[in-house]
């Protein structure tokens, strides 16, 4: 509510700000985000609170995810600002759409009803479609926006179809009531419900970018302008996780045996496809897109386990993954400047000679994504392996680690280019002080979290307990 009203304020104010002072919109958006975060802290619920006639829930999961989403949208805005200014894209719409997207995410995260969830999903999706297309003069952006829109519409349609079947069978839209209906009447757990469930899984997998519904992801990551990719790659993953947990666990938790296999197949395929195809990429945004698919495989394997440990692991992995990926795209933006898009992996060549500090930050992030200790990515993988092993799937655990080794190559390649290749690009890195500072903190956080990961894991386990 606060966010919505603040968005309207920013939107109106932006009309009166001309291009010269567009940065005012940026600061207003940041202020809006700060106020939203403060409101979230101030209204933190004790336990689980359901409001708005059962369509909106506020619990520890929603608090953590929302606060993280607000934080990373702010980070995305900060990283984006200078890039947008340099490339004549600095319109208020970026921030407005970003804030609307955040609104959609927050609705999704707190949804207690299938309809609320869908509403949040569409708000987010429409904002994202527009954001991807924000550069009107860029053919690739337009193409990827079209692909995203069409495929997204199909996936949303599929999700809605599944939702309608679930409503038809259980007679209610609210997650807690669905769960009660299924446990009260085991006869409901039969083909009609499974039919709806299958379509819901399709919709969820699309949102995550999991195989075989991943085709949009590399194209959209590559085609969108880098600040949009940054936004798209970070915070919406939190919303996708919330989507999965609310529908599949809160609502249809009783059907775990039915959807577990579906999720496992999707997860394993994502792991394999993501890691293998990323090796062949030369465009770093596309490479990070395929790597996202691989990481989604890990997250889904956590969900697949169906245990508290599994959900906690999936949550922990998502949270820590976003820190790394925001930094990675932030560094891609750092290397870009007016008229030059640092899109190719080869643009990283010789970064250690240009800027040893930021090369080190990228090194931290790349090793974290590979899963090498002492960076936080390792602990994310560790927890998922633990969850999978304790659920009795040693084969999956071995597959996960082998996939990580395959995946190590393309992360190492970035480090190879930065450190082992001579510097080809003599241009000095252009970035303002606040971006450098936050980017540095982002990189160091990847190491720091890895040295003290306990508090975050304890938080995730606590949240997972409340989900059950």
């Amino acid at each position: 509510m606060t966010l919505l009203s603040l968005i309207c304020v920013v939107l109106l104010a932006d009309l009166f700000v001309d291009n010269e002072h567009r940065v005012m919109t940026f600061w207003m958006s940041i202020a809006a985000l700060a106020i939203t975060a403060w409101t979230l802290f101030a209204t933190a619920p004790v336990g689980r609170v359901v409001v708005f006639d059962g369509s909106y829930v506020s619990d520890s999961l929603s608090q953590v995810l929302k606060i993280t989403a607000v934080g990373f949208v702010a980070v995305a805005f900060l990283y984006a600002r200078d890039y947008l200014r340099a490339n004549n894209l600095h319109k208020g719409e970026y921030y407005i759409l970003g804030l609307f997207g955040l609104l959609g995410m927050m609705i999704m995260i707190s949804a207690n009803s299938l309809l609320t969830m869908y509403m949040g999903l569409e708000t987010l999706a429409l904002s994202l479609y527009a954001l991807v297309a924000i550069d009107r003069n860029n053919a690739t952006s337009a193409e990827s926006a079209m692909k995203y829109f069409v495929l997204g519409a199909i996936a949303s349609g599929s999700l809605l179809y599944g939702i309608s079947w679930i409503y038809g069978v259980t007679g209610t839209l609210k997650f807690d009531e669905i769960a009660m209906a299924i446990s009260a009447n085991p006869g409901l757990n039969s083909l009609p419900l499974w039919f709806g469930l299958a379509f819901v899984v399709v919709g969820v997998s699309f949102k995550f970018g999991a195989v075989p519904f991943h085709m949009w992801l590399p194209d959209v990551y590559q085609g969108a302008r880098t600040p949009v990719t940054l936004y798209l790659a970070s915070a919406p993953k939190l919303a996708a996780l919330a989507l999965t947990i609310r529908i599949l666990v809160d609502g249809l938790g009783g059907l775990h045996d039915v959807w577990a296999d579906m999720v496992m197949v999707v997860a394993v395929l994502s792991l394999l496809v993501g890691n293998v195809i990323a090796i062949a990429q030369t465009n770093i945004k596309r490479m990070l897109g395929y790597s996202t698919i691989a990481h989604v495989g890990f997250i889904l394997l956590g969900i697949f386990c169906g245990t508290e440990k599994g959900y906690a692991a999936a949550l922990f992995y998502t949270l820590t993954y976003i820190v790394a990926v925001a930094g990675a795209f932030g560094l891609v933006i750092l290397l870009s400047r007016r008229g030059y898009e640092a899109e190719n992996i080869s643009d990283f060549k010789g970064l250690n000679a240009r800027s040893p500090w930021f090369a080190l930050m990228m090194l931290f992030i790349m090793f974290s994504l590979t899963g090498v200790p002492p960076f936080i990515g390792f602990f994310g993988k560790l927890n998922v392996i633990d969850a999978v092993l304790s659920s009795g799937y040693p084969g999956l655990a071995v597959l996960m680690v082998l996939a990580s080794v395959v995946g190590a190559f393309y992360y190492l390649r970035v480090i190879w280019y930065m450190y082992f290749e001579p510097n080809e690009d003599q241009a000095v890195l252009q970035a303002s002080v606040d971006m450098r500072l936050v980017l540095s903190l982002n990189g160091v956080a990847v190491l720091a979290l890895g040295i003290v990961p306990g508090w975050l894991w304890a938080l995730c386990t606590q949240i997972a307990l409340s989900i059950q």
Binding site: V372, N383, G454
Partner: protein
């Protein structure tokens, strides 16, 4: 000043802090500048300081104590029941001393020869030193794994940035190969964590395990350690990595990183899965003997000096794994202990000798920029002091009595004789083969007529190089003539280990 309780933490974090300090001091292009000089002095001081602290470790180490010494245990990740748990015993203390002894020598060796980004070079070595000591001290499985994998990061950079022509291929191969081996160890640790509820290595050692579980866990550990040691047939990363690494990198790789594999076998495989180890001991012995004999023949045919020494390393590490796994083939008596002690002594000795040999090749490479044997000949004529050192280390490599190489090999051969005549026969062929490949190389490089203009123009060792080689020569001779201090450190721990391994877990 009694800081014995924090001694191990000091040993780990002091070099790491030194490395970070060096990164802060940073590089500039002028070798003479204040900053460059300061940086080098800081690097040397930190590594020497760490060595001095490790002397304290040696002095305060109680040879007769059973169990772990200098233990530190703090809760690190309570949510996962992971502790920051450090401790040393007779197996880890000598290896820590080896590490702290060699790092200052590597710093001195790289003093002038590293022109590009030297601050990052020295920082990488110092951080690597801290992490390696961490592996040797860690008593919590996750802490062990964190240090184990984290080590790959600086080594990857060292080979890739400052290495030779095919360095990128070599370093990627090194990283991916060792990473692949290690991740299966991670899965085993997580499985054992699920059984015991914590990552404590002693918990792992005490938990009963069925035979299938033991076999699978042993295979997982075997893959991790066999790649590190390296054992035939997963040794192919080593020649490339050693050849392409800068001199200091090769020294640390050969001297210490390889020992981690051996250390892993005695610290983890043998006590945690004793029945699995027994079941597969024949396999390990076979692979060790293949390494000793076959790889020696491969070494004989090498034209590149560094590659020859690399293959020689693989062959010598064969003695280590052979010594460790003779336990069950040997009858009652002191045979098993002898084999283990021999393996441990071989680890320390090989560290010193191959380190020294790589430094010698580095001396030649710095001057002529070639590692090919064919490009040399008659070096003794122009570099007599160097020739003396190189011949000494070559003899030590061949296992000449009086040098440290002989002690370990003799112990292992005697132990294998007690097990099976043929084991000893094959192992003893090393006495001929190692002499063959090393001495033939030395003959072609050092002796004879001056082969070409490059050799004619050679200058003998400068003061820095002389100090480094002299120190190593003293160490090699000391252990060769008087191995008792080293062996006494290990005795109690090895006896305990043998007792522990002898008890079946089924």
């Amino acid at each position: 000043m009694d800081f014995s309780q924090q001694l191990l933490s000091l040993l780990i974090w002091l070099p790491i802090a030194g490395g970070i300090l060096l990164l802060i001091i940073g590089d500039d292009n002028d070798v003479e500048s204040q900053r460059s000089v300061t940086m080098r002095i800081v690097a040397l001081s930190m590594s020497v300081l760490t060595f001095i602290v490790s002397i304290a470790l040696y002095k305060w180490f109680d040879n007769a104590a059973t169990g772990m010494q200098f233990t530190e245990r703090f809760s690190w990740i309570p949510a996962l029941n992971v502790y920051y748990y450090l401790g040393v015993d007779g197996l880890s203390a000598p290896l820590i001393l080896l590490t702290t002894f060699l790092t200052p020598l590597v710093v001195i060796a790289g003093w002038d020869s590293i022109k590009d980004r030297p601050a990052q070079y020295f920082a990488a070595f110092l951080i690597l030193e801290g992490l390696m000591i961490g592996v040797f001290c860690a008593l919590d499985g996750l802490l062990f794994y964190v240090f184990w994998e984290a080590m790959l990061v600086p080594m990857f950079l060292i080979i890739g940035v400052w290495g030779g022509e095919r360095r990128i291929y070599a370093t990627l191969k090194f990283f991916l190969y060792t990473f692949l081996g290690s991740v299966l160890m991670l899965v085993s640790f997580v499985y054992l964590y699920g059984l015991t509820g914590s990552f404590d290595l002693f918990g792992f050692m005490n938990v009963p395990l069925g035979m299938t579980a033991q076999k699978l866990i042993f295979i997982a550990f075997l893959l991790a350690f066999a790649v590190k040691v390296p054992m035939w047939p997963v040794h192919t990363w080593l020649p490339d990595a050693h050849v392409e690494a800068p001199t200091g990198g090769s020294v640390i790789l050969a001297a210490i990183l390889l020992k981690m594999g051996g250390y892993g076998f005695v610290r983890l495989s043998l006590p945690i899965v004793p029945d699995g180890s027994e079941y597969f001991s024949g396999l390990v012995i076979a692979l060790s003997l293949i390494a000793i004999v076959y790889i020696a023949f491969v070494a004989l045919m090498q034209k590149d000096m560094k590659k020859l020494i690399a293959y020689s390393s693989i062959a010598h590490m064969g003695f280590v794994t052979l010594g460790f796994f003779l336990l069950w083939s040997v009858g009652p008596g002191t045979g098993a202990g002898l084999g283990m002690t021999g393996g441990m002594v071989q680890m320390v000795s090989h560290g010193l000798i191959s380190g020294a040999l790589f430094l010698c090749v580095g001396v030649l490479y710095d001057r002529v920029h070639s590692r090919q044997i064919a490009d040399y000949g008659g070096v003794a004529n122009t570099m007599p002091k160097f020739a003396a050192f190189m011949v000494l280390f070559a003899m030590a490599n061949a296992g000449l009595p009086g040098t440290s190489g002989f002690v370990g090999e003799l112990m292992v051969i005697i132990a294998s004789f007690k097990a099976n005549f043929w084991f000893a026969f094959l192992a003893a062929t090393t006495l001929i083969l190692a002499a063959a490949y090393t001495l033939w190389m030395v003959k072609r490089v050092i002796y004879g007529e001056v082969a070409n203009d490059n050799v004619a123009a050679l200058e003998d060792l400068n003061q820095r190089e002389f100090i480094v080689l002299a120190v190593l020569a003293i160490a090699v001779l000391l252990i060769g003539l008087w191995p008792a201090p080293l062996v006494d450190m290990m005795n109690v721990t090895i006896e305990q280990l043998i007792q522990q391994v002898g008890q079946s877990k089924l």
